[in-house]
């Protein structure tokens, strides 16, 4: 089966007063239709930027994005791309226009793309979308500020679904929600994927959430991919020191701890004017000289399991 999305050596740099910020620095992956790729990392790793570059909300500095066999990296007709590629935002408060009602928000993409010729058909479609995401029809005339985070996020999802896209970037869609609401929304997104065969790029900082919903997971640090493998494999056989630390840092909700404590030194920095060498080296408990001199390439260390670390074999055996 040919893949729906192919990303080849994608780079996005920003010019800042302090220098060139390498937000995304050479990311590669393929994603098959109907599957979910989880992208995990902390602040400054570039995951949100990656999502936005793929759907052309930002323009790539270098590299290629191939969607459904076509090179869309530099295409001028971005509007028609929107029919196939959509995004769900993190902040259910900021991503909705406070002056538009629920109905108007969901209806807007349909109007822009002239999807329906008459009002009746449009009305029906909006109703349908509201039903699909679990929004009561009486809320159609409500305004975002009257609703809670969970409902607002459902509006965002309905809006993303309106154009019947095939690929959806989910940018931390549940991070701003309460735990019990998170679970509701995650279930909804899973159900939708099962019914309508969406392909998701699921961006999050929460490893527990991503394990549950992804087929494959990619861990990013300061703009580069440090580990990539199947979802279960990543947790059963964690290879990169950063991924290990990330997993160890998550407080387990149990008094019988199963994981080893690993505390990292230092702070999360910004990838501005990065020098050659592993970007994680300054904080890594295993760093040796070579780690500071040569940038480790992303290599297939075990079948379908890629790691960017000079000492990966030594550390894990």
């Amino acid at each position: 089966m040919s893949s729906l999305l192919q990303v080849i050596d994608l780079k996005k740099y920003f010019r800042t007063p302090r220098g060139m910020l390498h937000a995304v620095d050479g990311v590669n992956f393929t994603l098959d239709a109907g599957k979910t790729l989880g992208v995990v990392g902390e602040s400054g790793c570039g995951k949100s930027t990656l999502g936005r570059v793929i759907i052309r909300l930002l323009d790539a500095t270098d590299g290629t994005v191939i969607f459904d066999g076509k090179d869309i990296t530099n295409t001028k007709d971005v509007k028609s791309l929107r029919r196939d590629m959509q995004i769900i935002f993190q902040d259910p408060f900021a991503s909705l226009n406070p002056r538009m009602s629920v109905y108007e928000i969901i209806e807007e993409p349909l109007i822009i793309h002239k999807m329906y010729s008459n009002k009746e058909a449009m009305h029906q479609r909006v109703q349908e979308l509201m039903d699909t995401v679990g929004l009561a029809s009486r809320l159609a005339t409500a305004y975002p500020h009257e609703l809670d985070g969970g409902r607002r996020q459902r509006i965002g999802i309905a809006r993303a679904l309106a154009l019947e896209p095939r690929f959806i970037v989910c940018d931390e869609p549940v991070s701003a929600l309460d735990v019990s609401i998170q679970a509701q929304i995650l279930n909804l997104m899973q159900d939708l994927q099962e019914q309508q065969k969406f392909t998701y790029l699921f961006i999050t900082h929460d490893l527990s959430v991503v394990k549950h919903i992804s087929n494959e997971i990619m861990v990013m640090y300061l703009g580069m991919v440090v580990e990539k493998s199947g979802a279960d494999e990543l947790f059963e056989r964690t290879l990169h020191p950063y991924t290990k630390a990330l997993l160890a840092a998550i407080p387990e909700p149990t008094i019988h701890k199963t994981r080893q404590r690993i505390l990292l030194r230092g702070e999360l920095t910004s990838p501005i004017n990065p020098k050659p060498g592993c970007r994680f080296a300054p904080r890594c408990n295993y760093a040796k000289d070579i780690c500071f001199q040569q940038t480790p390439p992303l290599e297939e260390v075990e079948p379908e399991h890629f790691v960017a670390c000079h000492r990966v074999r030594e550390i894990n055996d």
Binding site: Q86, I87, F89, N97, P109, I112, Y143, D148, G156, L163
Partner: protein, 292 residues
């Protein structure tokens, strides 16, 4: 929240407008201002019915009369009833105030939105243009334009319009810059909205609050500006009963016929005061919503 609980009914959902109205009404000073403005508007609309005399009815036998039952505000040097002239003056002043302001506001909003949204050289050119306008004091600018165009109501309105452009352009540009960065604007781009759609459907409704506030305050300034023009003999020409013109004409009679100056002056003061407190109240009422 519109949560339904088994105990209570769904909480009443209120439109944003009603929320704002409620907050506005709690501000007593603003309500006072609103009542005065409402009164002025009524006077303006029904001047023909309310005013006891036509504004240009001259009667030399009754000239320079002190305020009395027959002429509550007295009469001027031509024997015209000042009360009637003040009432008709409301119509003129409000017209000038609102129409000129609308013209200036419209131009200013468009310039400000374009500058803020597109940035770059367009922003620079527009902002330097408004800087030039702003560097000239409003009154002098209005005088200069009115002098160039010649006297008359329309020219006065044009002059006042142009003077109000810079403030609106600045206010709208600043708000646009903020709103532009909000996630829902990015979301609009993500669904394929064109720049025009984003500006009119997403940015404008969210910068409306400062525009409204600036407008109410601006009407007051426009009225004073127009009055100044008439005072100097530009703008409105006699016998049109514009308050500023009335002030000008009464200059020579201040000592003995103080009422000729007092009542038109009082009218200007009251109108501007009402507009200001109403504008302040409106800003406060809109503010908590802005925080959301």
């Amino acid at each position: 929240m519109t949560v339904t609980t088994k105990a209570g009914q769904p909480k009443k959902r209120r439109g944003q407008g009603k929320d704002i109205w409620r907050r506005l009404c709690k501000n007593r000073l603003a309500v006072f201002g609103m009542i005065i403005l409402a009164g002025l508007v009524l006077l303006a609309i029904f001047a023909d019915v309310i005013a006891p005399y036509p504004y240009d009815l001259q009667n030399y036998s009754e000239a320079f009369e002190f305020p009395s039952w027959r002429h509550p505000f007295g009469t001027d040097n031509y024997g015209r009833d000042i009360l009637s002239r003040v009432i008709y003056g409301a119509r003129i002043s409000l017209q000038i105030g609102f129409i000129s302001l609308s013209g200036g506001a419209l131009m200013g909003c468009i310039l400000g939105a374009v500058a803020g949204f597109f940035g770059g050289w367009l922003d620079t050119v527009i902002m330097r243009f408004t800087d030039i306008l702003m560097s000239i004091p409003k009154t002098i600018l209005a005088i200069a334009i009115a002098t160039t165009l010649g006297p008359g109501l329309v020219n006065a309105m044009i002059a006042v319009s142009i003077s109000s452009i810079p403030t609106f352009a600045r206010v709208v540009r600043a708000s646009t810059l903020t709103v532009k960065e909000q996630e829902f604007v990015e979301a609009a781009r993500a669904i394929g909205a064109s720049n025009a759609r984003i500006i009119f459907r997403h940015i404008f409704p969210n910068v409306l609050a400062p525009i409204i506030v600036q407008s109410t305050l601006g009407v007051g300034t426009s009225i004073v500006l127009a009055a100044s023009l008439s005072f100097l003999g530009l703008g409105i020409q006699p016998p049109t009963p514009e308050w500023g013109a009335m002030l000008s004409a009464a200059r020579g009679f201040i000592r003995d016929q103080w009422y000729m100056v007092f009542f038109p002056g009082l009218a200007i003061m009251l109108t501007v005061f009402a507009l200001n407190v109403f504008g302040d109240g409106l800003r406060d009422a809109l503010d908590p919503k802005l925080k959301n």
